[in-house]
């Protein structure tokens, strides 16, 4: 990118500037397989046009059938779409849509630990795509809720059957949603916040 000349640098629109009083930001991650609706969900609740941040991952090749003595390296660019919601003049919430594929996870080490919580977005046509993501969140101790994005042609299962299939405990909230609708996406986020709030209540009793 050419950094010379201020006119060439895109930046936030004037109405997208945060107030100077903005003191801190928190983040929520939305995880799920490709095409499950993460970006749609970010876009439907974000106050700014969704943006993309990238990271380049270099991986040493592990194949043995390449040239002798030359180590192959593959560079993969992992993109995350994100949006923003101003909560108060001091507090900002960011939503990151993150690819669920296992090989991308270590790249974002720290992102998940710091997140207040996660929304696992599920497509009942490809339920198994979310298995690894959910397992990773369990291993890392990141609290999460499961949102079933209702695609018109997707098989519909009763929530208890999905809970059994996903092997989720009763306390983990599961909701159906249509992420194209702002109110529906907002309700998913509210479900997550209420769940996190309930964890503080149980935590205070122990």
């Amino acid at each position: 990118m050419d950094f010379n000349g201020s006119d060439t640098i895109p930046g936030p629109r004037t109405e997208d500037h945060l107030p100077h009083t903005a003191q801190a930001a928190a983040k929520i991650v939305i995880v799920g397989g490709f095409g499950v609706g993460k970006t749609t969900m970010v876009g439907s609740v974000s106050e700014i046009r969704p943006l993309t941040t990238e990271e380049t991952m270099t991986q040493a090749g592990v194949g043995v059938d390449d040239n002798y003595g030359s180590e192959t390296k593959t560079a993969t660019t992992v993109a995350m779409d994100f949006g923003r919601i101003s909560i108060t003049d001091q507090l900002v919430l960011y939503l990151f849509g993150t690819p669920g594929q296992q090989r991308f996870w270590f790249l974002w080490n720290g992102l998940f630990e710091g997140a207040l919580g996660a929304v696992v977005l599920v497509d009942t046509r490809r339920l198994e795509v979310s298995f690894d993501v959910i397992g990773r969140l369990e291993e890392r101790g990141v609290p999460f809720v499961v949102a079933i994005n209702s695609f018109p042609d997707a098989p519909r299962y009763p929530i208890p059957q999905l809970r059994t299939a996903l092997d989720l405990t009763e306390d983990i909230p599961m909701v159906e949603c249509d992420v194209r609708r702002r109110a529906s996406s907002r309700d998913v986020l509210l479900t997550l916040m209420r769940f996190l709030h309930s964890l503080t209540m149980t935590g205070s009793l122990t």
């Binding site: 928190a26 983040k27 291993e139 890392r140």
Partner: protein, 135 residues
Amino acid sequence: MTPPRRTRRYPRHEPTPPPKPAKEGEEKNPERLYVVAGAAEDGARAALDLVTLIVARAEAPPSATPEQAAVLRLCTAPLSVAELSAYLSLPFSAMTVLITELLTAELVQARAPIVRQAVPDRSLLEAVMHGLQRL
């Protein structure tokens, strides 16, 4: 029709499956949950999060590189590292190097993010809920 089935996992380093996996996991390594942003010491990279807010403290000095000047122009109002990365089309890791230089030169200020803690901040969660309800 029966959906495919998953098997539950548990937080790592736990010998026995605890009843509340999420809570146990949070407690196992609390110091990692706090991300402290600030000027780098001895040239080390500042611990910057994607949502650390960066604010310019000064205009770009003549010695500033074009990249540094671009950051300072964008940060006249607070902006997250992620947004800076997006607007400047720089990978996150490159962005943190650039911001660390600016922090060291005291040209920008970093406002540390709120990160999940072993004991979650209830008033914070309530503020977020109220904010979402207004959407």
